[in-house]
Each structure stands twice: as structure tokens, then as C-alpha cells.
Symmetry: C2
Subunit: 224 residues, 2 copies
């Protein structure tokens, strides 16, 4: 477990904030620390949206409950992770998800209004803070968009090509190394692992690509 300030500094919301400024910034934001025992709710669905949270210690699950009461884990938040920012910034009335401590956790809660309102003593942090928030939301936006482009393909082959092509364009190379194991790649593409393997083999036999473990090479000529 890291120290409080070390953890805080890992959170992208506080990027480019001087260490020496952190303490006064947190005071200015009226940030509060809370501890939660295992399975305790940090936020509960239908709560009013007022704050964003930063995981200081332990970890949380972002949970969603569907119409029939089935719970799904949407995401996991570990040390330094920020959560609740989209709902706050979107001006949502009520939370559509719950946040629950998976293990004993310590959370920093910050009132959203305090972040976006430049404070009376006009401290310069707010500008940085808001810029960081924009940055976080926008990056997440790009990631979501990219994943959507992949998942909007109907077949496993097309999902694979969409994913690999995007990586290749980003890396400006037809040789790419993906940060996933097979199972993880299958999870990312939302397909069955064995079906993924089968399709990969077929594509290699057809000369669309070559691969070895996590190393892939896209073939130029395959205009399909």
C-alpha cells in the first residue's frame, strides 16, 4: 500500500499539479476521505450525483443492475482510479450504477461543483483540474469509440481485422504486438476464444495475416 499522496498523484485528475500544492488544493476542494468495509456501497444506484471518487486503497466494482435485478460488473477500480466522473460531468440526476467496495477500501470523495467552479480565492489549480477532467473524458471517449467500431462488426473475422487494422494504423506498421493473451483478446472482441482461434487459423491459411503468440503481421495485398 502506498502513501496517501503517492496514490493521489497516480490519479490522472491530479496530473500536472505540484506536490506542494496538493494539500491546499484538496482543502480547497473540500475533499473527504471515507473508509468502507467489504461489500459496502460507496455510491448506490438512484443516488443523486454529487461527487466523483478516487480509490485511495483497496478496490471497488462498478455495478449495474438490469430490469430483472441481475447485477453485472461493468468495471473494476483499483488504487488511483477515478470513478463517477462521467455522470457528474454529464449532469445526470440519478446514478445509473452502483459502486461497491470489493475489499476494505478508502475513498476520496470530491464534490463535483467544487471542481468546476473556480473558487473565490481564484487558485490556479482549478484550471489544471478542469483541463485534466476534459482530458480524461476525451481519452475515454476515444477508447470507447474505437472499441465500438470493432464491436459493430458482425463477424469474428471482421472484428479481428478492425482491431488489428486500427492498431496497425496507430503504430504505422503492419507488424504489431498486441497487449492481450488469446483469452483477453477474445474478451475484448466479445467472442468465444476457440472461435477466435479457429478464425485466426483460417485467416492465416488464406494469407490475410501471419501470427505467432501476440505478434501479428497484416498482409498488404489482402483487399478484403
Amino acid at each position: 500500500m502506498h502513501s496517501f499522496f503517492e496514490t493521489i498523484k497516480k490519479c490522472p485528475l491530479f496530473a500536472d499539479i505540484q506536490d506542494s500544492d496538493l494539500e491546499s488544493l484538496l482543502r480547497c476542494l473540500a475533499a473527504t476521505r471515507h473508509t468502507y468495509s467489504r461489500d459496502a456501497f460507496v455510491f448506490h444506484a438512484d443516488d443523486a450525483v454529487e461527487s466523483v471518487g478516487v480509490v485511495l486503497a483497496g478496490s471497488v466494482h462498478i455495478l449495474q443492475e438490469d430490469f430483472w435485478g441481475n447485477r453485472t460488473i461493468l468495471a473494476h477500480g483499483g488504487e488511483g482510479d477515478l470513478f463517477g466522473e462521467a455522470f457528474s460531468c454529464a449532469g445526470a440526476e440519478r446514478l445509473p450504477v452502483s459502486v461497491m467496495a470489493v475489499e476494505p477500501a478508502e475513498i476520496l470523495l470530491i464534490n463535483y461543483r467544487k471542481i468546476i467552479t473556480t473558487c473565490p480565492n481564484s487558485c490556479g489549480f482549478h484550471v489544471t483540474l478542469i483541463r485534466n477532467m476534459l482530458h480524461i473524458l476525451a481519452r475515454k471517449n476515444m477508447m470507447l469509440t474505437q472499441k465500438l467500431e470493432v464491436l459493430s462488426m458482425r463477424t469474428t473475422r471482421d472484428k479481428l481485422l478492425a482491431y488489428l487494422s486500427a492498431r496497425a494504423v496507430a503504430e504505422q506498421s503492419n507488424r504489431i504486438v498486441i497487449p492481450f493473451s488469446r483469452q483477453e483478446l477474445a474478451d475484448y472482441l466479445c467472442v468465444d476464444r476457440s472461435a477466435l482461434s479457429r478464425e485466426l487459423g483460417k485467416m492465416q491459411r488464406e494469407g490475410l495475416l501471419r501470427y505467432d503468440k501476440s505478434r501479428f503481421e497484416l498482409m498488404q495485398q489482402s483487399m478484403q
Copy 2:
């Protein structure tokens, strides 16, 4: 075709800005108007990211080119629509997409730095503008997340249930009216229309739901 100011006011980036303030705001932002003929590029992939754009007249396509050079239309932008905001706010170095006028178009370009930097004469618009930008990004974020939850389901049935359940929870009712025709729903879920119809019929026969046109009723007991 609407007047310049009428169009501007439709753009969510300028929400809550007084009509009387608009003109000086635009001057402060050094916003510039440009006209493009059909098929001209407003932005080109790999351009440096410097500005966001607002469609004043005509319309644009957001295009993406994959590894093999195939172009895909990612989105359409009509009068009052904002584009390029995610890349600007995310601090992307190079644009991963192109923006092209589909028909003769007039575009308002605003340098991103001017938006997020509170100007020397500290005019109050910037605060509103930045808040609007946060709002836009966050709302888009929520929409993307929700669609991703639906598309991450592997079967048509599960996609349908995920979508309908989300609507039902949002509307707090088991009776919902969807804003889509069948074809549009199929497109949203990224499945074939006939397969969607087939699955809907099957689900109705199994008692999971009832429907008539765009009106759906989810059954409570069906815990599956």
C-alpha cells in the same frame, strides 16, 4: 437554411450563452468561418489537432481509413453539430479521422487552446464554454458506454434484452416505446433485420416480452 446565429445557438457548445454575448465571445475565441465545396476536406487524417469545428451550413462526414485504405463513414454532421472535440480535448497529436464536406458547407473553426484558456480579459463565457464541453463529452461518454454494454452481448437475444432492459430501467417502467424502426433497431444492435424479427417473435412466443410496432412490454417473471 437558418441564419448564422440561429445555427450557432443550436450547438450545445454554446448553450447558456446569452445571445447578446455571442458575438463578442466568437471574437474572443478568434473563431473563423470557412466554406468548403463538395468533397473538400475540412480536416485530414494525420493533420495536427488544433481546432474543433461547428457545421454552420451543409453537412460533413467523419471518415476513417483502415490499414488497407478502405474508407468508413463513422458519423454524419449536420447543421449545428460539433466535431473534433474529443481529439482536441484528449490532446491527440494527429487526427485519426478525416472530415469531409458531403455538400457545399460552411464551417466555424475554433482553436481549442482559446476555448480552454481563460482569456486575459477574463470574460465569463469561458467558464460556461468549458462546462458545456465537459457536459458534451460526458454525455457522449454515457451514450457510448451504454451502447458498448449492448454490443458486448454475444447473441441477438441478449443484445435485445440488454437494450430493452436499459430503456426500461431508465423509464422506470416495463412498458417502453423505442425511437427506432425495426431496421434502425437492427442497425443499432448491429444485427441482421430478419434475424432480429425472428428472435423477437421467438421471445414473444416464449413469454419474455410482448410488442407491437415500437411499443414493447417486458415481462417481470422471465428471469433469463
